[in-house]
Amino acid sequence: MGKALLKRTLLLLGTLLLVSALAFAAFSVIPGDPTGSVLGVEATDEQIAAFRARHGLDLPVWQRYWSWLTAFIAGDFGQSYKYDMTVAQLLSDKLGVTLVLSAVSFGLIAVISLPLGLIAARRPGGIVDRAVTVLTQVAMSVPNFVLGIGLMYLFALVLRWFEPEYVPLKDGLWPHLRFMLFPALAVALPKSAMTVKLLRGAILGELNQDYIRTAYSKGNSRGSALRRHVLRNAMIPVVTFLAMAAGDIMAGSIVVEQVFGIPGLGRILISSIGNRDYPVVQAIVVLLAAAVVGCNFLADLLYRVMDPRIDGR
């Protein structure tokens, strides 16, 4: 296991390096310059030259990348061009908001899909199963921002279950989470639908295995065969999927934040791209990539823990 772990870790770091290089290259290729958007059109040549010198924009790309990379590894994410703040200062509370939204979404996926998957697998082809199939099909095919607009309209404007205005954490944990529940639902529903489908299929697949016949022959009831034998095996693909989806969930949160007016990473990402505030964009891209790659790494690890047949010797 140790060797496989080392290999995965190296792969993870390599991926992050590649992503950061690609992002850096992309921003040096696209038109537009931070000087224009930050200093305005009336800036003098001296002001522009001073700005470029201060942020190292007069250096070649690879030199800029190298100094950015070494600083980043040392924990210095750089200075925002637009605001008089470090990138770390600018992002810290916004990252927290996005993480809360992602965590609530993740919790919702588990709460929604595990019981539904079990119920659907209980009687394949039954009324519940067919209803779940139709619902999951619908939930899977609606993009999360459309779902977000729909939820906003239904729960905030028609039913008035919540005010369509962001409630920050400093107004209390409970009101904050209560507001976050609705955007989280928009992120969670499509993923829940996939999870239900996957879990249902996995349970039905395992129920047809020979070892289930063995379990019944020992006097297990259907319930205990399900609990003691089927679930652990059926959860292997589901847990792997969920761990991999966790990165996606964070990316999904960024989109849905826009719909619900949540001041998370999404808003600052979009405004920073507009402002050509590259250090900020760069940091967010690398953070997101780290989240996705890290979750894949976790999925791989969980897979090894749950399935004893896999041990990377």
Partner: protein, 269 residues
């Protein structure tokens, strides 16, 4: 008499016309006896075993007749009532030792599962009984195998683990559904020896199902020959083997590659 099966039929009703996989099967077995059922694949021999064990899903098929085991008709029991017998008085081992064990459960936990279901014992007691059953089933180093995963065992060892889990409560009847078919010949002979040994030492009756009359002859006293769901012939194994009355039985015997035939270089089975 320990087991009295009368007119056991298994009829599939989910197809166009009703199809009898087992047609009026009758068999009597005494305690400690080893009886064989032979027949080609599709003859209904495994279906008979599964019907007896209560492993046929009742919505798809109709099981009729009676199977009186120690005074109780197994076929008339509800699912819950039957569960009290499964794994305790009746056990079964299957053809596929590779897939019959749960891949994500340690061997020890699977061997002692029947104990967990039917008896209230402490962890230590359960483990002691499991190790005892594993030794009886001929598993070397039971203590080590107890902690292993099924995929770490060879096919023969897995079948021995299955035997141990079937025997952990010392059932009165062990149904062996082609237990050696998936194993190679030397392992096959060792497993047969183990089953014989268990029968002698523990007095467990064995209903041994096979397509191979030679294997049945090495183990059983009596044999039932099945074809297309019906019994075509039955009796002491030697008389059936040496003086088959039915053409089908003769065919089964001649389809085995015997030493004589192999030496003559003319094999038609």
């Amino acid at each position: 008499m320990m087991l009295d099966i009368r007119d056991l039929s298994v009829v599939f009703t989910d197809r166009g016309a009703p199809f009898a996989a087992v047609d009026r099967f009758s068999l009597q077995m005494d305690r400690g006896e080893i009886v064989g059922i032979v027949g080609e694949s599709g003859s209904g021999k495994s279906m008979t075993a599964h019907a007896l064990m209560g492993l046929i899903r009742r919505s798809e098929v109709e099981v009729s007749g009676s199977a009186v085991f120690e005074g109780t008709d197994l076929l008339s029991l509800s699912r819950e009532e039957l569960r009290r017998y499964q794994g305790r008085d009746l056990s079964i081992i299957f053809q596929e030792p590779m897939t019959s064990l749960n891949p994500t459960m340690r061997v020890g936990a699977q061997v002692e599962e029947s104990l967990r279901i039917h008896e209230r014992l402490s962890r230590g007691e359960r483990k002691a009984r499991a190790l005892e059953a594993m030794a009886l089933a001929g598993l070397p180093e039971p203590e080590a195998v107890y902690r292993q995963w099924p995929h770490q065992l060879s096919g023969g060892m897995r079948q021995r683990a299955m035997i141990a889990s079937a025997l952990v409560l010392r059932p009165r009847l062990l149904i062996a559904d082609e237990p050696t078919t998936a194993l190679d010949v030397t392992i096959q002979a060792q497993i047969l020896e183990t089953l014989k040994d268990i029968n002698r030492r523990e007095g467990v009756a064995i209903l041994f199902i096979s397509h191979d009359l030679g294997v049945v002859r090495a183990l059983c006293g009596r044999v039932v020959v099945m074809r297309q769901g019906k019994i075509v012939e039955s009796g002491p194994v030697d008389s059936v083997f040496y003086h088959p009355r039915e053409d089908y039985t003769k065919l089964l015997i001649s389809s085995r590659p015997s030493r004589k035939k192999l030496r003559g270089g003319r094999e038609d089975g």
